[in-house]
């Protein structure tokens, strides 16, 4: 059982508000009383009740963190980083996973409101629920998405694609592949990749864009697409390319994958045909997760630490009402080269 200020006051032979003043660093306190109070606090290990403080002060020093999935190495790094940043400025995080479910996300956000969180950092599942935060005027920073009504931190996917293109060009790549995350459609990574190729007078062949055959994000299906591509181009690209470039020791095929998991799917499929990374093909993944580290392939890293730093900083500026405009911060990714 924890003490309260009244008990501390009695033990130190002062009034309860004096204890409050000591704890809050109010200067109008006799140094001697201050010492006495601090001694008692120290000896019994008193911790002021945060719930009472929240009630009285109308702020909780709590940040609601909502993500669409926890067991994704990318979000986990993000959560770790946010927890660290929050802790270092005296805030705590309440973590919620919405499991990619809009209804759960809605409940979670309502819960944040009930908990009196000072702000929310969210990787949103949908736009609808964000209105709840708007309605209650909760300072909010959105991560990964850009939304005109909210502050946001995001990454330039185009820049990531361009970075990959640059790397491949440096390596003398002539055959540029791209394997996307979703079904066919607008893909900023691909845009950046293509544009950088064009800017260098190179061409991207549309049939080298592999993607899910359907709307459903089934990874088995993508694996089949990859498998078929490799099989069909074994004798036309992969093997000849290596032979042509045998003086360099590596081929001129470059594969950019929308994320690290896809990258591993490619590596696995390629190995079935005895194609070896950095010999028969160059490869770059996205997100630079533990997978890229352990498989030792290059990957585009999102500056997670920078993202969380900016998120918290931006959130704090909103909480303290130092800014009221809507900021959309875009950060640049960087290429982690591994050979």
């Amino acid at each position: 059982m924890n003490y309260n200020m009244k008990e501390i006051a009695k033990l130190a032979n002062v009034s309860q508000p004096t204890v409050s003043r000591v704890i809050n660093g109010n200067t109008n306190v006799n140094p001697e009383l201050r010492k006495r109070v601090l001694q008692v606090i120290e000896s019994v290990g008193f911790q002021p009740n945060r719930a009472a403080q929240t009630l009285k002060n109308q702020n909780s020093f709590l940040i609601g963190v909502s993500v669409t999935s926890i067991s994704n190495p990318y979000f986990m790094d993000l959560i770790e980083s946010i927890e660290y940043e929050a802790r270092s400025i005296g805030y705590n995080i309440i973590l919620h996973n919405c499991e990619n479910n809009i209804l759960i996300e809605q409940n979670n956000l309502k819960n944040f409101i009930a908990r009196q969180v000072d702000g929310v950092i969210i990787v949103p599942e949908s736009d609808e629920n964000l209105e709840i935060l708007d309605k209650y005027k909760i300072p909010t920073v959105i991560i990964t998405h850009v939304h005109s009504n909210f502050n946001s931190i995001s990454i330039s996917h185009e820049k990531g694609g361009a970075l990959a293109a640059d790397y491949f060009i440096r390596k003398g790549v002539q055959h540029f592949l791209y394997i996307g995350q979703g079904p066919y459609g607008k893909d900023l990574k691909l845009e950046g990749y293509k544009n950088e190729l064009y800017a260098n007078g190179l061409n991207f062949i549309e049939s080298n864009y592999l993607h899910h055959p359907t709307e459903t994000n089934n990874s088995i299906q993508l694996e089949k697409v990859i498998h078929t591509y490799i099989k069909d181009h074994l004798d036309t690209i992969f093997i000849p390319s290596l032979i042509e470039n045998k003086d360099k020791g590596h081929s001129n095929v470059g594969v950019l994958c929308g994320n690290d998991i896809i990258a591993i799917q490619f590596i696995t499929m390629a190995s079935k045909y005895h194609l070896i990374l950095n010999v028969h093909y160059h490869l770059i993944g996205f997100d630079d997760t533990i997978l890229a580290k352990s498989y030792r392939f290059s990957s585009i890293r999102h500056p997670i630490h920078e993202m969380s730093t900016h998120s918290i900083k931006l959130l704090m500026e909103l909480v303290s009402r130092r800014i009221t405009s809507k900021n959309a911060i875009t950060l640049n990714p960087l290429l982690i080269e591994r050979s």
Copy 2:
């Protein structure tokens, strides 16, 4: 801005305690008033202030979760699972990482106390800090460690080792390797592994126990040890073993690794000598993380979901003072076979 009960009461033309009664499901409320109140609550989207409830009720519906590291796929799965279990019974988690630092852990636990958490689930960095929880009589469940003064959920590492031994025996393995996580010392996984071999009339050769050469947990050093072992036994074990068993299509070497990361180190080193998984050697990792899934090697899985279920259940029993004895629950791991 959120409403409060007083405002709801005014809008519904009832007294404020009536609003409280409606919200808390008190039956002594005129159905008509109840309806009126619920309508107002619904229309303005009122959420009772949790801080006030915490202050009044002396419980927070908050669970403090402290781990030694977040960015570890194993803990990440655990956190996700705990968040899910807590949420499904109306609790929230406050997440803290202690970064393997005793001082940070101490501050985090004090913070839990200030936050009035109803209970703590902790992967402890040290025993000392646990005394804080004991002192304040915070219901606590320890995960992974067993401690006589606390309730705990842990995994039988011996059983994991035995499971691996059984699998290897089934596969006809004759050369049993073990690569431990730490420097040389007591290792329950190894104990279970050996004992199961002995129980089957088999022998474990001590020189087949690879480990860090020093106290420092430097993974580069372990990699060198692995590398040296493979090089030295290439012609005496790995190659001959495959030749002897070429009718079966795979050798009779079995490698058990203390965790999945070590497993990948072995696979990587082995591939330098063109040794292929499930051909030149059988391998089992520990923890069944995303690494094992993507590299497709077998791994001993800890029943993470079961762990979190038991943790929350046990914690709730402590919170409600239904139990006061100290329980040490040991769960059995299971082998996920991948070929």
